[in-house]
Amino acid sequence: MIENRPITTFVSHSVLIIGVALIVFPIWIMIVASTHDALRLTQVPLPLLPGDQLWTNLKSLFEEKDFGTPIHLTVFNSLVMALMISVGKISISVLSAFAIVYFKFRFRMFFFWMIFITLMLPVEVRILPTYEVVANFNMLDSYWGLSIPLIASATATFMFRQTFLTIPDELMEASRIDGASPMRFFFDVVIPMSRTNIAALFVILFIYGWNQYLWPLLITTDPDMYTAVMSIKQMLESGEGEPQWHLIMLTALIAMLPPILVVIFMQKVFVKGLTDSEK
């Protein structure tokens, strides 16, 4: 800050606090709602402060089958899907970026453009035919079906390409003189030097994978394959009359907790990776 203006600073802080409170308000209400019982959540006005029913609600999510798949199963499915997508995406993109940056070979530009155009086709746009392909491979209701169609990503390949281009050429030459083969160089130098990017990308992709909704909604029909995020919709629609808001909110809380924790605890690397990757 250039000049010291206590009043401006005070106003800035006040406005920020109000703004942040507004942004966090829905989250807060969710937490509050998940700590009350069903009855309290039918009485207007709804509570603004937490109750004492969290434990009871939690138990019913684990035990009762009336609300669909038990929460630990859906969370496990989400975890598997998110990890498969993030690890898969990082692996295939880091390999292809390495090839494109460090090798000269026929069709290099052709492959590059082929990967490039996938940037332009989000899954929502090609949803029907992709569904058919997955169905033909018998991958409906499987972890493979949930993850593989989502793991080809131009964004990750581009990000690694950018990173690799900043590694000095001399390192590759030094490693050649040291007697390292291309793959040795890849594992001994390129990968360790891309650690931060890999971590940042992992955060972004984990969230991307965990938060998938339309895709799992389409390709899973077996309740045992439901993911945490998509189970919300079932709960909103299931049952007669008013939805079970206390359980819905608790499920929502559990379903958004892992990505929120990942983003908060890896904040530094995530923010850097996110804002750098778009440059």
Partner: protein, 293 residues
């Protein structure tokens, strides 16, 4: 910038690109081709027979007021989401850029919506604005506003815009603050010496200097509003009431999976792909320009 030196190997690079290329072909290029092919077919609902009808599906879309309305609606929706989310994010970023103490805490709280799945974001806002129970509905009632997005289509649109903008604030905030941090401090100091106050400085120095980021975010936000808001709409309104919140992506899904109009849905996919390609080209044109700076 490219490497000056390369490895030479006859098979290794092909092996390295193979996984990504195979997946790209199977799950991107082939389905996209299929969509293109199907968009020229007229299929009955059971997939028993199909007929090649050239551009009939597209012509039908063009003549279908429902589709054209959805197009206009999507345009309005995305512009509203982008401007709402970006102005709030810019406002917060400008304030957070000024304060030193606590800026980390503000950031931590402000990035939370980024991690929330669209459908969950939708569920939260649905709960807040629940016509009978919602807390905000309750307050609005005190002001004499009768809220029921299940019946009132402009309220429905307002709610999905609000939810979609909320979720995107984190992303915009992070980029704005990064852009502001990258402005050389000496420039700000120079303008302070020239006698510009904080507000004046924001509009004459900071805002023009971060305009590339603003433009970049505009494109990203529009792409987001077009394609990543499916979950929000699915949770809050499911396109209703009537078709009042049915944006293009939602319509592809609705016509294809619910209505089983495969040809029509495929034609819509093709149009969407075309839009993404256009937006991406715009974005990359801009990135290219930025590289030259």
């Amino acid at each position: 910038m490219l490497k000056r030196v390369h490895y030479r190997s006859s098979y290794l690079p092909y092996l390295l690109v193979a996984p990504q290329i195979i997946i790209t072909i199977l799950f991107f290029i082939w389905p996209a081709g299929q969509a293109l092919y199907q968009s020229f077919l007229l299929e009955d609902a059971f997939g028993l027979s199909s007929e090649f009808v050239w551009f009939d599906n597209f012509i039908e879309l063009y003549e279908n007021p429902n589709y054209l309305n959805s197009f206009a609606r999507t345009g309005f929706f995305s512009v509203a989401v982008a401007s709402l989310s970006m102005s709030f994010a810019l406002f917060f970023a400008a304030l957070a850029d000024r304060v030193i103490k606590g800026s980390h805490t503000y950031r931590t709280l402000l990035i939370i919506p980024y991690a929330v799945a669209p459908v969950l974001a939708g569920t939260l806002w649905l709960f807040l604005f629940n016509p009978t129970l919602g807390i905000i509905t309750y307050f609005l009632d005190a002001f004499g506003i009768d809220w029921n997005h299940k019946l009132n289509s402009s309220q429905a649109m307002g709610l999905v815009i609000l939810a979609a903008a909320w979720k995107q604030i984190s992303y915009n905030f992070l980029f704005f603050i990064a852009a502001m941090h990258s402005i050389p401090k000496s420039l700000i100091e120079a303008s302070a010496i020239d006698g510009a106050g904080p507000v004046h400085r924001f509009f004459t120095i900071i805002l023009p200097l971060i305009s590339p980021t603003t433009f970049f975010l505009l494109v990203v936000n529009i792409i987001y509003a077009f394609f990543d808001t499916f979950g929000i709409i699915h949770a809050i309104t499911a396109g209703g009431p009537g078709n009042s919140t049915e944006i293009l992506v939602y319509k592809v899904y609705n016509d294809g999976f619910v209505g089983l109009d495969l040809g029509g849905s495929a034609a819509q996919s093709v149009i969407l792909m075309f839009i993404v390609v256009m937006l991406t080209v715009v974005q990359f044109k801009y990135v290219e320009r930025k590289v030259q700076y």
